[in-house]
Symmetry: C2
Subunit: 183 residues, 2 copies
DNA sequence: CTCCAGAGTGTTAGTGACTAACAGGTTGGT
DNA sequence: ACCAACCTGTTAGTCACTAACACTCTGGAG
C-alpha cells in the first residue's frame, strides 16, 4: 500500500521531485515506517522476486544443453510463467515500474546491479558454493551475455508500452545476439 | 590530486566510512571545491574515458563483419590499446578503482550504468541519431550481450590482481559466451 | 603601473536520504 | 488481567549535495 502510493507519486510528480516524506504522508504513516519496510527509497520501486524462480528454471532444464541456450531458455520460460498479460492492473504497475527504472538514473543503476545479483544467483545454482573456477568463468560469461541481451528486450518491451509479447521479444533479442534459436 | 587522496582513503578506510569532508581535508581544500570538480562522491572513482575510443574502434572495423564479432573485437582492441601493463603505478590505480567498483554496491551500480551508457554510445555510432529501429534492436542486443561478457572478464582480471592479460581474458570470455573466436 | 575580468576557492545555510535510540500502543497467548 | 512481541511515532543526528554570496589571485588591456 505504501508502495502503491509511492509509485503513483513517482509517476505523477517524478522520482527526484518526490520526497520519502511525501510518500509517507500520502500513505498516512510516518517516514520512519516507510524505512522500516523499505531499506531505501529506491526499493520502493525495485522489488525483484524473480531471482529464485530463474535459478530453479535453469536447474529444471536438461544439463546437456549448451550453457547459453540453457540459461537463455530458462529466462524466457520464467518470463512466460510470470505472465501479466491477463491482469491489466498488474501489467500497468509493472510498466510504470520499468519506465521509472529506465528513465531515472539512480533506479536504472540499481536495477542493473540487481541484474548482476541475478547473475550471481545463476552461478550459485549451476556451480554451487565452491565450484570449479573454470566452469564458473564459463557460467559467468554465458549468463552475463544472456542477461545483457535479455535486458534489451525488457527495455524495448517497456518502451513499446507492453504491446509486444515479452517472452517473444526476449527470444528475438537472444536470437540476434547469439544467432541461434531459443524457441 | 583530490582524486588520488580520495582513492587512497577509500582503499584504506573504506568507501562508506570516508566522508567527502575527509577527502577534502586530506587534499587540503574545502568540501565545496571537491564538488566543483566531481559532481558526486562516486565520480571520485568512476571517471570513464573509454566510451569515445570504443565507438571509434567499432567504426574502424570492417562493416561486413557480424555485429557481435565486430563489437567484441573492437572492445578487445580498445583494451589492448589502453594497455597499462607497462606502467605499474597506473595499473595499481586501475586495480584499486576496479576493486572498489566491484565491492561497493553504490559504485558497482553506477559502473554498470556507465556500461549501459557505453551501449548507447555503440548504438549511436552504428545507427546514427534516428536509425532503423530493427537495426537498432540488433545492435542493442549484440552490444548488450558483448558488454555483459566483457564485464565478466574485467571482474575476473581485478579479482586476480591484474596478473592475467586483460585483452586475452576478454577474448576468452567472449569465446565461452558466443562459441566463436575473437582473435 | 593600474585596473579589470574571470577563474578558482571558501563560507554559510539549507534540503533530503538515512540511522540510532527511546517511547507508546496493539495484538495474541497465558 | 497480564505479559511479550511487534509495529509505529518522535527526536536528534550524520552525510551527500545545492544555492547564493564574498573573496583572492591571476593575466592581459589600457
Amino acid at each position: 500500500m505504501i508502495q502503491a502510493h509511492a509509485i503513483r507519486l513517482f509517476v505523477e510528480v517524478g522520482y527526484d521531485e518526490t520526497a520519502v516524506n511525501d510518500v509517507a504522508e500520502a500513505a498516512g504513516v510516518s517516514a520512519m515506517t516507510v524505512y522500516r519496510h523499505f531499506a531505501t527509497k529506491e526499493d520502493l520501486v525495485l522489488y525483484d522476486e524473480y531471482d529464485p524462480l530463474t535459478a530453479a528454471a535453469i536447474l529444471a532444464r536438461p544439463g546437456d544443453e549448451p550453457l547459453v541456450r540453457r540459461i537463455g531458455r530458462a529466462l524466457v520460460d520464467t518470463a512466460a510463467a510470470a505472465d501479466v498479460s491477463g491482469d491489466p492492473a498488474a501489467k500497468a504497475l509493472l510498466l510504470d515500474r520499468l519506465r521509472l527504472m529506465i528513465s531515472t538514473p539512480a533506479l536504472r543503476a540499481r536495477h542493473l546491479d540487481s541484474q548482476y545479483a541475478t547473475q550471481s544467483a545463476i552461478v550459485d545454482a549451476l556451480c554451487g558454493p565452491a565450484g570449479d573456477p573454470e566452469l564458473e568463468f564459463s557460467v559467468r560469461a554465458a549468463s552475463g551475455a544472456v542477461l545483457g541481451a535479455v535486458h534489451v528486450a525488457l527495455t524495448r518491451w517497456a518502451e513499446h508500452d507492453g504491446r509486444d509479447d515479452l517472452p517473444g521479444l526476449m527470444r528475438e533479442s537472444l536470437n540476434r545476439a547469439f544467432g541461434i534459436s531459443f524457441g
